[in-house]
């Protein structure tokens, strides 16, 4: 009997020790080791039409890498909706992949967790140097003044896609270059069940991308230089109001767009219900919906006046995907080799061509494939008139709070409730207070 009791006690104690060992997360602060030099795990974000397509695109490239280096890469493609939560879980448990893709708007937030390998001079040298990359893309990979938390992989920018036939039917010969022109053209188009502009009112991230650009055009930002939120500044309020007014006042956005969050505005565009959308690299989606390249045109996103440029004439956020290394990788050298491979000129050309994005590597951008009319607009935007979203640790909260405020304002507009400067300010004030708690 004594043996049974002793065994029971040992079982309880060892179970408790095992459990207490699980809590608290990893406290490793180093930058990985080389315990398993022959294998890597890679979490790729879902870039293509679906996960299977991504696997098909990436697997031959990973085989190529294995042939070159002898390192086997285990691939997992993760949908966007799950990626951030998966990264958070990996960060808190310390059990993450070796290499992963992150959205570049999350860079500063994830940088603050300390889970990602910082890309200092030495690490950049290991992949061919920092100056191989477009400046604005590197700027979107971490907070200013700190070593970036990731390396740019695929770059994207916003453009104005328009339906040529709908424009011709309304007697419009040129795509609009300013918002006033867009509203004037929009009023000509918005009749008989057709609408001028598409929006994704329920998509928080998309709301943020649009109002960020408009705020820049009103000489405002959502954060001050110290990283404190300034959501209620006159410029920010004017930007949000201008965006929602496309539905509330100008009536060029269909009310139903207020609840769109699954890219339904692209379907409306492809079906000829909507004449314009503001989107990043939409060509492959339009093709998948049966549109021919000749049916649509691409122009830079409008500005308040003049031509696109920096400052008040910024017309896109720097969109894109970065590649990062998990700090406690067991194959830090292999991980860097893999980043070098994925950002090599050859892979950059191949992968960006396949995904319809722009290479953030300057040399790869010279490939003629990226000089097609739509990609040229995106490329020029990236290099001359795009700005990264505020690289602050609270970016993720900003996306949620302000994105939700804009969503609620869309709902007001759709329901016919007035959207005024005061109501916009009230919503943004609430969002700002949520940030400060």
């Amino acid at each position: 009997m004594r043996t049974i009791r002793a065994a029971a006690a040992v079982t309880v104690i060892s179970a408790l020790v095992a459990i207490s060992g699980c809590g608290g997360g990893s406290s490793t602060d180093g930058s990985g080791s080389n315990e398993s030099p022959k294998t890597l795990t890679y979490w790729a974000s879902n870039q293509g039409p679906n996960i299977e397509a991504d696997k098909k695109i990436l697997t031959p490239e990973l085989k190529k890498f294995e042939k070159e280096t002898g390192i086997k890469v285990k691939l997992e493609v993760i949908p966007w909706s799950d990626l951030l939560n998966r990264i958070l879980a990996a960060t808190s448990s310390g059990q993450g992949p070796d290499v992963l893709n992150i959205g570049n708007t999350w860079s500063a937030s994830l940088q603050a967790t300390g889970a990602l390998l910082p890309w200092d001079q030495k690490n950049f040298d290991a992949i061919g140097g920092r100056d191989r990359f477009v400046d604005s893309a590197v700027a979107s990979a971490g907070a200013e003044g700190k070593d970036p938390a990731a390396v740019p992989l695929y770059s994207l920018a916003y453009a104005l896609y328009y339906n040529k036939k709908m424009f011709a039917d309304a007697g419009i010969s040129q795509p609009p270059a300013t918002w006033d022109q867009l509203v004037a053209d929009g009023k000509k188009i918005s009749k008989g069940g057709k609408w001028a502009l598409g929006a994704e009112g329920g998509n928080l991230a998309n709301n943020i991308h649009q109002v960020f650009v408009l705020a820049k055009q009103h000489n405002a930002d959502f954060f001050d230089s110290a990283g404190k939120p300034t959501f209620t500044s006159d410029g920010a309020v004017a930007a949000v109001k201008q965006y929602v007014d496309f539905m509330a006042k100008d009536k060029i956005v269909a009310p139903g767009n207020a609840e769109y969050a699954q890219n339904q505005s692209l379907q409306d565009f492809a079906r000829g219900k909507t004449a314009m959308v503001l989107w990043q690299a939409a060509a492959s989606t339009f093709a998948a919906q049966g549109m021919k390249p000749a049916d649509w045109g691409v122009a830079p996103v409008p500005v308040q006046q003049g031509a696109p440029g920096t400052g008040a004439n910024t017309n896109s956020m720097v969109a894109g995907i970065n590649i990062a290394v998990f700090n406690n990788t067991k194959n830090v050298d292999g991980a860097k080799k893999f980043v070098k491979f994925m950002t090599s000129d050859a892979e950059q050309k191949l992968l960006n061509k396949t995904y319809g994005s722009i290479p953030p590597v300057t040399a790869a951008q010279q490939d003629p494939a990226f000089a097609a009319p739509d990609l040229k607009v995106l490329r020029d935007t990236l290099s001359t008139s795009a700005a990264p979203l505020p690289q602050v640790p609270t970016e993720s909260q900003f996306e949620t709070t302000v994105g939700t405020a804009v969503k609620e304002l869309w709902a007001d507009a759709a329901a016919g409730r007035p959207v005024t400067t005061a109501s916009v300010k009230e919503r943004l004030n609430k969002a700002q207070q949520q940030m400060q708690q």
């Binding site: 960060t91 808190s92 009310p255 139903g256 909260q397 949620t400 609620e408 709902a411 329901a415 708690q437």
Partner: protein, 342 residues
């Protein structure tokens, strides 16, 4: 009259059986000694205790500890180092003036209204359908299977289908209400604005009434048919039979059913999350998604934990009060039944 619902009746029968099994008693004469002196019962309980510790108690304790810390993205990697904040997270959660406390209160009230409506309607439909299904008629089996379909479907797939149906421009709900029946002047929004509350209630009721139906149907099997026959001879109508026989006999089943439905509905995460995404409209901002948003979307895990602890306390208190009240009723209930029988 109360043979099936009186718990005391099973006790003597059990002991009678045990007395009858003389062989077993002879084979294990020393069990009482072992129980007194040995650790066998504890050893047998050990796996359950360990699992309970692992699955419930330890995560709960970790959650409570987190609620006293300022746990944000800066400390997620090593949350043991997050600064202590004493009761700050709780203070912010219950301070109703700034947005966080105000939103939590709004979310709590919305959830209360949602729960009362969804549980009430699920129960009502479940009881009504179960009573109807008591009668033997052609196609009863098929109808029962159809009624249970929502319970058998994967929640995510079912709710996402509802989300499609509720879409303003292309959804079936507006197609029927507006295009076919002409009940509304223009197509309504169901996934944004105030109507979102009704949308989430409809889906929750659709999802949970088959469970009520199933449980009540099982409960009805235990009511002796003679009661109805005797009542019918005495001249009681259908409605009187339901009121005087069915509902009182179902009381123990209903007590458990309503409690389970209440807990599931109050904590329901899948329905609002799949229907509205991570930012639900204010009118349908149910508390589970609200807490999820505080924790995982705005990366304030400390505050999310504090809100979870408050929710847990609320549910514990409500459950305790409910159990206290309902555990007293059987005596009253049996009195009612006796007077009804008389």
């Amino acid at each position: 009259m109360t043979t099936t619902v009186t718990p005391g009746r099973t006790g003597p029968a059990d002991s009678g059986e045990r007395v009858g099994k003389g062989d077993a008693r002879r084979r294990m004469p020393r069990i009482p000694d072992r129980i007194r002196h040995g650790g066998l019962p504890y050893l047998l309980l050990l796996p359950a205790v360990l699992l309970e510790l692992l699955i419930h108690l330890i995560p709960m304790v970790i959650g409570i500890v987190m609620s006293f810390r300022q746990l944000t993205q800066f400390y997620i990697r090593n949350w043991g180092e997050a600064p202590w904040t004493a009761f700050d997270n709780y203070r912010i959660a219950v301070d109703f003036s700034p947005p966080i406390g105000e939103d939590l209160l709004n979310s709590f009230l919305v959830t209360c209204a949602f729960t009362v409506l969804a549980v009430g309607l699920s129960w009502l439909f479940g009881v009504a359908a179960a009573i109807m299904m008591q009668e033997n008629f052609r196609g009863r089996g098929l109808l029962r299977a159809v009624f249970l379909t929502p319970y058998a479907l994967p929640v995510y797939a079912a709710v996402i289908t509802w989300a499609f149906m509720f879409q303003r421009d292309n959804g079936m709900i507006n197609h029927v209400l507006h295009d076919q029946l002409g009940l509304t002047d223009q197509p309504s929004f169901w996934l944004i604005g105030d109507n979102a509350f009704f949308a989430v209630v409809v889906v929750a009721v659709w999802k949970s009434w088959p469970f009520a139906f199933l449980i009540v149907m099982a409960g009805l099997q235990n009511i002796p048919r003679e009661l109805y026959e005797a009542a019918a001879i005495d001249g009681a109508g259908v409605w009187q039979q339901i009121r005087k026989i069915t509902l009182p006999s179902l009381r123990p089943v209903n007590q458990v059913l309503v409690l389970v439905l209440f807990l599931w509905t109050f904590n329901d995460f899948n329905t609002p999350y799949v229907l509205f995404g991570r930012a639900a409209p204010e009118a349908a901002d149910l508390i589970s998604v609200h807490i999820y948003q505080s924790s995982f979307v705005t990366w304030n895990f400390g505050q999310g934990s504090a809100m979870s602890v408050l929710l847990l306390l609320f549910l514990l208190v409500v459950t305790a009060v409910y159990l206290l009240l309902t555990s007293r009723t059987p005596r009253g209930a049996s009195r009612t039944r006796k007077s009804a029988d008389a």
